[in-house]
């Protein structure tokens, strides 16, 4: 038992931090946020060249064969640097969904192209109200065999406007529990993509309308109607990645604010020498440390203890997102007026914190899910 990152894992963290510092700093970010797709395509290519896109994909499918612990280190560093990138949607959501739900042949067709960085995939899983999938799913997969059609609306599709492929969650007509996932080109006839302006400027989302989009049996992952479990597993893995991102963001706002209060002088002394400021930063650090425990443990569980994944993911998603939000809110407060301006980074973290919390089930939703588990006796309340 060694609940600490290995030297190899630390190395991944360090190289990620170095790369993002030089390639994804505040100035670059400001530039990119101004126009579609909202992220740096060159940087994304570099992710592919460095093997980051295939980090957690098995070697048999062209990946590096490492685990979720390693992928989450990348997520944490991207959260810290507030990187806008298709990494989350493609590598932390689409890839595990394909790994868990696709037939071998489909895996062989898709995973190597994800690993190489050749594919950007958006996942159209949510309905119009944005509740965690499959709640509110409003896409129907109708017909049989070669005569299948996808119809309906999906919203909150991350990077939907710049993806090569879409993974679309759909249910059978009049049978919401029979879930299928279809793979279609983003440019397929009948697909309309309407980008939103979102609160969080770093994770663009779109509404996708499907008007009798024709597909075949081979475009459906695995067995039609049987993807429910694969979706849940992929969502929990994605939640762990989001928790890691949130952790990285919380760490960064803590560091940024600590540095600021050491420098900013009011009343003839650094504001960081005032006890009220110090104590607020101490509270931020307390939350950050607990968030580390939550996110790192969940990543370990993803690799080692699948039976604990649902619980650990819910804990990490809810705690890390709350911690990020509170820290980002404190960062604005402790920066004073400047922290409220558009030109300062604080608001970008604050908005990302809110949006990350909302994504795939709010903290309150995750907690309700946890209680359902232990009130049902699935996990003993207790600790040990």
């Amino acid at each position: 038992m060694q609940f600490v990152h290995t030297d190899e894992q630390q190395l991944i963290r360090t190289s990620a931090r170095d790369l993002l510092r030089s390639r994804a700093g505040p100035a670059q970010r400001r530039e990119l946020l101004r126009q579609a797709p909202g992220y740096d395509l060159q940087l994304w290519r570099t992710f592919g060249e460095l093997g980051w896109t295939g980090l957690a994909i098995p070697q048999a499918y062209g990946g590096a064969g490492l685990g979720w612990v390693e992928l989450c280190l990348l997520a944490e560093e991207q959260g810290r640097a507030l990187v806008a990138s298709p990494f989350f949607a493609t590598c932390a959501l689409a890839a595990p969904l394909i790994a868990a739900g696709a037939a071998e042949e489909q895996r062989r067709a898709l995973l190597p192209r994800i690993a190489s960085g050749a594919l950007r995939i958006a996942c159209a899983l949510s309905g119009s109200d944005g509740r965690p999938p499959p709640e509110g799913n409003a896409v129907v997969l109708a017909g049989r065999d070669t005569q299948l059609t996808l119809s309906g609306v999906s919203d909150f599709v991350i990077h939907g406007d710049s993806a090569d492929l879409l993974l679309v969650l759909a249910h059978a007509p009049e049978s919401p529990a029979e879930l299928s996932v279809a793979v279609i080109p983003a440019a397929a006839p009948g697909v309309t993509i309407r980008p939103h302006t979102m609160l969080d400027l770093t994770r663009p989302m779109s509404r996708i309308e499907l008007d009798a989009v024709r597909i075949t049996r081979r475009d459906v992952l695995g067995e039609p109607g049987a993807s429910g479990n694969a979706v849940q597993e992929a969502l929990d893995l994605a939640r762990v990645a989001l928790a890691s991102e949130a952790l990285g963001g919380a760490e960064q706002v803590l560091e940024m604010t600590t540095a600021y209060v050491k420098e900013r002088v009011q009343f003839g002394r650094p504001v960081g020498s005032f006890q009220a400021i110090k104590h607020r930063l101490a509270d931020m650090m307390t939350a950050v440390e607990a968030a580390k425990s939550a996110a790192w443990y969940a990543a370990c569980v993803a690799d080692e203890r699948p039976e604990e994944l649902a619980e650990a993911a819910a804990i990490a998603k809810s705690y890390c997102c709350d911690a990020f939000f509170d820290c980002a809110a404190s960062a604005i407060q402790l920066h004073g007026g400047i922290g409220f301006t558009w030109e300062h980074d604080a608001h970008l973290y604050f908005k990302r914190a809110r949006a990350t919390a909302t994504l795939l089930g709010s903290p309150a939703w995750q907690r309700e899910r946890l209680v359902r588990r232990f009130a049902a006796g699935e996990s003993a309340t207790p600790v040990f």
Partner: protein, 395 residues
């Protein structure tokens, strides 16, 4: 202790209600419910003039300066009716609530005659120049300098420096500005409270874009800006004392107007919860109740403040009011977004335009910062109201 009003007061209420109703269902119908200070500039200027022409702009001021000499109770009544009628946020706020009362309290007779009537008529708008990039919480460290120059009776103040967070600066005619007028002075000493015309070459206003996407505040630059030697309120060097007087005017009748926009926000949240069914969620219900309670308590506290003010005292609730409402509104902002759910995070319009409730979520983040951060407020409460020892300062 008595909540009711006199017959005379109730007559004023009826008069105000009738006038407001006529205006806001007639010529100013388009301004009804516009709580925020932004947007519709030209129309809002007309509204200020209409208020002035009908004698409703500054009813608490003496009649000689454009007011009605109304009692505090009457002012409360007018604020209530103003709110009830859905009348818009006031572009004249800074003049009516801050500059005017300060001049009234500390100005010369000539200043009162020159400046008060145009405010009361809604003709001259004001903005406030206190904060500077390095004088935020520590207001006494202002560096904007003003020196008296020129010969004999032609002397005027020449002002250089930068003020920040100057709301209303983009359309104000005048600014009241805290300047350092004694070379080499530090802290509270050597400051003066100057009145400076905004329409001159030496004044540049640059909007500050905020996290809301909007730009309601400004940086205001003074480069050899000028104002007449007489345009100093109080004696030169007494600016700190005068400025503190202004800050205490921020509390009072105007808080009732502010509560009007809070009530609109809460009402919108309640409607959203009723529309999407979250009104049935027990946790949301608790938070709605907390919000409702907070709003009521603000009102009751405002009534207490007014009663104390009438008796000439600054009572304890006045110290705690700012932190109470600012903390309350910040929570309201989070509640708003929680009620809206994920769709609340989609902008109403590109590039970054927001409806009332998401805007509340964003803008409320500034409430605990401007006008004295929560940290500063707590210091003031602890030291002035509770008499705890002052923070030890390094030499």
């Amino acid at each position: 202790m008595k909540l009711g009003f006199t017959a005379k007061e109730e007559r004023l209420r009826a008069e105000a209600a009738a006038w407001l109703h006529a205006q806001l269902s007639g010529p100013f119908r388009d301004l009804r419910g516009l709580a925020k200070y932004s947007g519709e500039l030209a129309r809002r200027r007309e509204w200020e003039r209409a208020l002035g022409a009908a004698g409703w702009s500054c009813i608490g001021w003496p009649e000689g300066y454009g007011g009605r000499g109304a009692s505090l109770a009457e002012q409360v009544i007018f604020a209530e009716e103003y709110a009830r009628a859905g009348a818009p946020g006031r572009l004249g706020y800074m003049g009516v609530e801050l500059a005017g009362p300060t001049i009234l309290a500390c100005g010369t007779e000539a200043q009162k005659r020159r400046f008060l009537p145009p405010i009361a008529r809604g003709e001259e708008l004001w903005c406030q120049g206190y904060s500077e990039p390095n004088a935020g919480s520590d207001l006494a460290s202002v560096r904007t300098r003003a020196v008296l120059r020129g010969p004999g009776s032609g002397k005027e103040w020449v002002v250089n420096g930068q003020k920040t967070w100057t709301s209303f600066a983009q359309f104000a005619d005048w600014a009241f500005v805290l300047c350092r007028t004694e070379e080499g002075s530090r802290g509270h000493q050597g400051l003066s409270y100057l009145l400076i015309p905004m329409h001159q070459a030496g004044v540049t206003v640059r909007p500050i874009r905020q996290m809301t996407g909007g730009a309601e505040f400004n940086d205001t630059f003074f480069a050899d800006a000028r104002t007449a030697a007489d345009n100093v309120v109080g004696a030169p060097g007494d600016g700190w004392k005068v400025a503190m007087a202004t800050l205490s005017f921020e509390r009072g009748v105007s808080t009732l107007a502010q509560q009007m926009s809070f009530a609109n926000e809460l009402r919108a949240i309640l409607s959203a919860a009723e529309a999407n069914g979250l009104i049935r969620d027990p946790e949301i219900r608790q938070r709605l109740a907390h919000a409702h309670i907070g709003l009521r308590l603000m009102r009751y506290s405002a009534l207490r403040m007014l009663a104390s003010a009438e008796a000439g005292r600054l009572s304890n609730e006045a110290y705690t009011y700012k932190i109470f409402w600012a903390s309350w509104r910040k929570k309201l902002g989070v509640l708003a977004l929680d009620v809206l759910g994920p769709r609340g995070e989609i902008a109403a319009d590109a590039p970054y335009e927001w409806d009332l409730l998401p805007r509340l979520f964003l803008s409320s983040r500034a409430d605990t910062i401007y006008g004295g951060t929560n940290q500063i407020q707590r210091n003031i409460i602890a030291e002035r109201a509770l008499g705890l020892p002052r923070e030890s300062r390094p030499g």
